[in-house]
Symmetry: C2
Subunit: 334 residues, 2 copies
DNA sequence: CTGTTAGCGCGTTCAC
DNA sequence: GTGAACGCGCTAACAG
């Protein structure tokens, strides 16, 4: 079946130890020998058996990846960054999606432990009270949070609060004052909370009163809260959405209510998914370097010592301009 | 560190062999003993070491997943189906994305062999000449193709040719006769070819002359071919796109050229990505059960014997009606 | 620089 | 129904 180290050793006229060294610590073996082993290995299509290697060395060269879903392009983009970085480092991935389900999040830990992952990169609903995160900490498993921002945890993220605050200012500069925010469930998502905080702070800094968030609890949510918001007599002229999928839905809701975007309503998303730029109108969005977030998380995890809170990385965000935002006009205030 | 089978055996007052049996062949051990072992294992948070298990039993309980990219929601949706089915079967996944790059496709095989996957589910650019597929066949590794359709390979797919043909008829029924098709690179994608074949056959069946495909070679393609198509004096009144991402781009191109969709141009996509239904206008698309394709592929792979061509599964497609298609009107022929 | 040796944790005979 | 012993393929010591 699969060729083993013995056959390579025999054909190359060396011991198995030398073959092992040729692969793992190439510098520790004579270049001629190394070359000969490489040739034999190629001829025999030898691939080292990771299970044996892991068993012996106690290094699985595998990391766990726990993400809410891959159906949201944000995480798909991030996953690609993770996969690329892991691959380059010779690490395999054990993926797990929680589907925003706490029970699944809880089950993840056993799954990861069984596969003896060396570390985990993950995004949880709420870093402050995640059962999965608690278990990971308990097991002293190295980890890096992606997207979540928490003082006492190692994280890779953008400064979401500042980002949203800046977008409020941007809209204000365009003449908007009735600015609202739509979010997912604030209770369950720390990111939604931090983004809303940015909105509230931004509004107050401009002397405006922040409105309550239009919450849309589920993934395939009803848009009741948003409908109510837009049905008001003096409805907002600008809407910030805590993620791009919500923004796409808001776009649709506006159309349904015959509200023209951006003439009557400006919309800003959050995430910067690639598809947003392809839409018509193209989505204005606070963009995060999603692949880079994944990549940095892996690099931090594999950097050597266990990542500490002070190793946290804040990457740059940017407001990606699109066609869903316009300066406020008289029409805006219908 | 991690608890081993020995500690469980000791605490339960049995030998490691019995503990092993309690997990792998529960029927072969007395129920009392089994129960006691289960309790101890839970108390000790024992999780069997997969590497050791794999090494000894030569069963990795791991399958390889090779997909072009996860940035296209089609594959993300499919991946979720794969992940779910594998998880339920107790199988882990080794994911690998080729990014439509032949060199990466070639490298995949070593990656998979190292992890000693028991089988592979994969989508290749062209099943007829894929180096990866050749290697997998050579290594006698069980596999199932997803989306690709090929007589001599085990596949899970929809009947793409019939599907597109039906959509041609559908458009014709709405009064369209100048129907065109936009595709990715026909040379490299067997799916694009089969979908185009469906278009051509559909046209001929209606006594119409199929137009050459408007090819857009790269992932982030220029839309030159499409522009040219739509700039013609007697431009098409309906456009079928070989995937939804192309359709989204077509929507944008039309808008740029001030062609109203669907009044002046009807657009039909292919894939049925969830996001399509959320767009404005919502995308009419030939939808495939993407998660189901992934799930079925895994189930077929793990069904027991090595999947054979005659095990191939054709799943049902459906035309998902949206707002990008309208009956032909006098305005259509500008 | 290279070879010898001893397990890593588990599944699997074969006895009992 | 259960236990003892072997070895899967490899890496980590140590010797040379």
């Amino acid at each position: 079946m699969s060729t083993s180290i013995h056959q390579v050793a025999e054909r190359a006229g060396v011991s198995i130890a030398t073959v092992s060294r040729a692969f793992n610590t190439p510098d520790a073996v004579h270049s001629d020998t190394r070359e000969r082993i490489a040739q034999v290995a190629r001829a025999l299509r030898y691939a080292p058996n990771r299970s044996a290697s892991t068993l012996r060395s106690r290094r699985s060269r595998t990391i766990g990846v726990v993400l809410p879903t891959l159906l949201n392009p944000v995480f798909a983009e991030c996953f690609e960054g993770i996969a690329q970085a892991s691959c380059e480092a010779g690490y395999a991935i054990v993926p797990y999606t929680t589907e925003y389900d706490l029970e699944r999040e809880r089950r993840a830990i056993a799954w990861l432990r069984e596969r003896s992952v060396e570390g985990v990169v993950l995004t949880v609903a709420n870093a402050a009270n995640s059962p999965l995160l608690a278990e990971i900490t308990r097991a002293k498993l190295p980890y890096v949070l992606l997207y979540n921002r928490h003082q006492e945890r190692p994280c890779v993220s953008v400064d979401q609060t500042a980002a949203v605050q800046e977008s409020v200012t941007y809209l204000h500069d365009l003449g908007h004052t009735r600015i609202a925010m739509a979010t997912g469930s604030l209770d369950t998502s720390d990111r939604a909370q931090q983004r809303y905080d940015g909105y509230a702070q931004g509004m107050r800094a401009l002397g405006l009163t922040p409105l309550a968030a239009a919450e849309q609890p589920f993934m395939h949510a009803n848009t009741d809260a948003l409908n109510a918001l837009l049905l008001q007599a003096k409805r907002p002229t600008a809407l910030i959405c805590s993620n791009d999928l919500l923004a796409v839905r808001a776009l649709r809701t506006a159309r349904t209510m015959e509200i023209d975007v951006p003439r009557e309503l400006s919309i800003v998303g959050f995430d910067g998914i690639a598809l947003g730029a392809e839409l018509t109108p193209s989505l204005t969005s606070i963009s995060q370097p999603n692949a880079e977030i994944g990549r940095s998380g892996v690099e931090l995890l594999l950097a050597g010592r266990t990542p500490k809170p002070r190793d946290s990385i804040t990457l740059a965000h940017a407001l990606r301009l699109g066609e869903t935002v316009a300066a406020r006009t008289s029409q805006s205030s219908a």
